[in-house]
Symmetry: C2
Subunit: 391 residues, 2 copies
């Protein structure tokens, strides 16, 4: 831990509504996986609940691709609910009457943490594509620097779904001694060919938009709206299941009795997707989307350990709870089971729950009582084996 790191609290970050921010890496920059040194950089984060005197009640929540630090309550940027309101709060599984929940916008993000939309201190202009490509491990390193800043040595539990689950896994591998328990949900030890392919479609939609201007759209006072919207729509389909789409929309028409014989949004599912795309463009940066999808594509704990994933977890002191959903075709149970097998091979402490749900990959964000009960039970057990106290 770089406890010698100089840092300062700032009231506003690059995003004026980003809430709490801290500037890190001023004296000692962060060396990224690419070899590039990054610093100073800003991390925007939120906390929920109270840190106890022993600093032993920390739950680090890691957000997914398009998530942010606003886990619950009203997101001041979007004016909408946070993304995990059923998980984090008083009396909820991540009980803020008991735990101190920390969530930081990831490196490369666009909600206050330094990313391609931020100004490069060397030029005073937005990084754009000159921002270095970052990895899941880089995100985790930056989070560790944030915890150093907060004086938190060890975290009781780290959790997240999808890209958040990748970060949770990476935490247990990069900083095993700092993580008592981990709950990666709907995650994987590497991104599959199909996942990479879906991301590539989204990236080319963005980069093919003439308003992208080689990544320099801010200088051109433009936004690659059409491309980013298409990227979101394609991704959104992959977050749902066929069954969920059928149940939700079927072939129902939108605000009409008969087919239009045209190319408007005749069907509800078309109207819904278009809306998802439009809303997303208002809240998300196109270049950030490129960088974060790339980080997910690059994630490969299996290759990092030369094909033997168990080696990643040898001697791990962490207690794991791996959760998957039957209806998730993006991060299917098979990928999660690969993690479980490796943990078993490394004689790690692991629970595995596959939850019956037809809601697709997004299930981890939704009302899934079995997930909540699983996590409550796992945290109870983890607390019993915890040298600190979470009360």
């Amino acid at each position: 831990m770089n406890s010698t790191q100089r840092h300062e609290e700032v009231v506003t970050g690059p995003e004026e509504r980003a809430g709490r921010t801290v500037v890190l890496g001023t004296e000692t920059p962060l060396t990224l996986d690419s070899g590039t040194e990054l610093g100073p950089f800003t991390i925007a984060y939120e906390t929920y609940g109270q840190l106890n005197d022993e600093k032993s009640n920390v739950i680090l929540v890691c957000h997914a691709l398009t998530g942010d630090q606003f886990v619950t309550g009203i997101n001041p940027v979007t004016g909408r609910d946070g993304w995990w309101p059923l998980m984090v709060g008083p009396g909820l599984p991540f009980d803020t009457d008991r735990y101190f929940v920390v969530c930081a916008n990831v490196l490369g993000g666009c909600m206050g943490t330094t990313g391609p939309r931020s100004d490069d201190p060397k030029t005073g202009r937005p990084y754009g594509l000159s921002f270095p490509v970052i990895t899941i491990k880089d995100m985790v390193r930056a989070q560790a620097m944030l915890l150093d800043h907060l004086g938190i040595d060890k975290i009781f539990c780290v959790s997240g779904g999808s890209m958040g689950g990748m970060q949770a896994l990476q935490w247990t591998v990069t900083y095993p001694e700092r993580v008592h328990a981990a709950i990666p949900i709907g995650s994987a030890a590497h991104h599959t060919a199909q996942n990479i392919a879906l991301h590539e479609v989204g990236r080319l939609a963005i980069m093919g938009d003439t308003d992208w201007h080689g990544g320099d759209y801010l200088s051109h006072n433009a936004i690659p709206r059409a491309g980013l919207s298409v990227a979101r729509m394609a991704a959104h389909i992959s977050y749902l299941s066929e069954a969920a789409m059928h149940r939700k929309f079927g072939r129902q028409l939108q605000d009409r009795e008969t087919l239009s014989y045209g190319f408007g949004a005749d069907f509800q599912v078309e109207s819904y997707l278009r809306h998802q795309g439009e809303v997303f463009v208002e809240r998300f940066d196109a270049n950030s989307y490129l960088y974060l999808t790339r980080a997910m594509d690059y994630f490969d704990l299996i290759a990092e350990y030369r094909g033997v994933l168990a080696d990643a977890f040898q001697g791990s002191p962490t207690r794991f709870c791996i959760i998957s959903f039957t209806g998730d075709w993006l991060f299917p149970t098979s990928e999660n089971r690969t993690i479980v097998h490796a943990l078993n091979a490394a004689a790690a402490n692991v629970s595995f729950v596959e939850i019956e749900s037809d809601k697709g990959h997004d299930a981890f964000l939704l009302d899934e009582p079995e997930m909540f009960e699983t996590i409550r039970g796992f945290l109870r057990g983890a607390a019993e084996h915890w040298s600190g106290t979470t009360q």
Copy 2:
């Protein structure tokens, strides 16, 4: 049958390399489902094998979304193999030593049949978006006019995969008395919400491309390359299975040893998809893609029969062979089984085969011995119950 229809053989159609073409609907236009009248219009088609004296050995092949009339041999436009070379030819399941195989480019297509790229005879300029939205049934009606022109009353068998399967089904419903046997492969009685959603992403990618120019790109000497390419990439992912992509590409890098930490095509699957997109732009018209995907989305035999699909097949004299593939998540077995159940409820003559394959929706185009054997056997049986002769 409009045997009074005036028609003429022309040597070259709108596409000079489109092969055989015929102009139809000159005196009596085709009334489309939208209510619009279309005529005159050109149908480009190919035939393989010899029509027997009784005109009783006709197999009508219907192509899929991006297919065309060049079923086998070298496609003169692309210079590549036709799309069903393992199915159609001497000694193959659709044996051209025995059968007379006819395949027409669908209405709305871009390989010689009239579509949005064709000149509107009223203006002398390309239709663009003024081309009427067409349906699967409209495609089938146009094919029936072609068969009338060829003097063919009844077809021994109609077959096709995907959108071709939709046409085959529609043939049995619209012209039951003209169809002795039908083999819809990897098909469905309606397009699902997920299928519509995937198409909508492709359409918005095209329509969001500034080079689309509201559909009038030909006048602007432009092509919406980026958008059409993205549409193809997204669709292509849906034609494969996760297993096939994993087997074919995994996380293998393309022409490099290490990650680039950039946004080029690091992974083989990215390179492959980009190539698919680029090649497609060279051979396919963007507006045609809009019209044909729309026709598929609009296809709904179930709604047409007020929710009772069996009513579509009441008293059907046709012998059906329905084929699905286990690894097809776009037109899954469940959708094909819906057709089978309706046929059974209508006491129609139906065989159903689900073929074990992890090659995804594209399996019908590939070397699937069980599919070939099924079709050979089915055709043998169909020939035994055929009042004509196929010898």
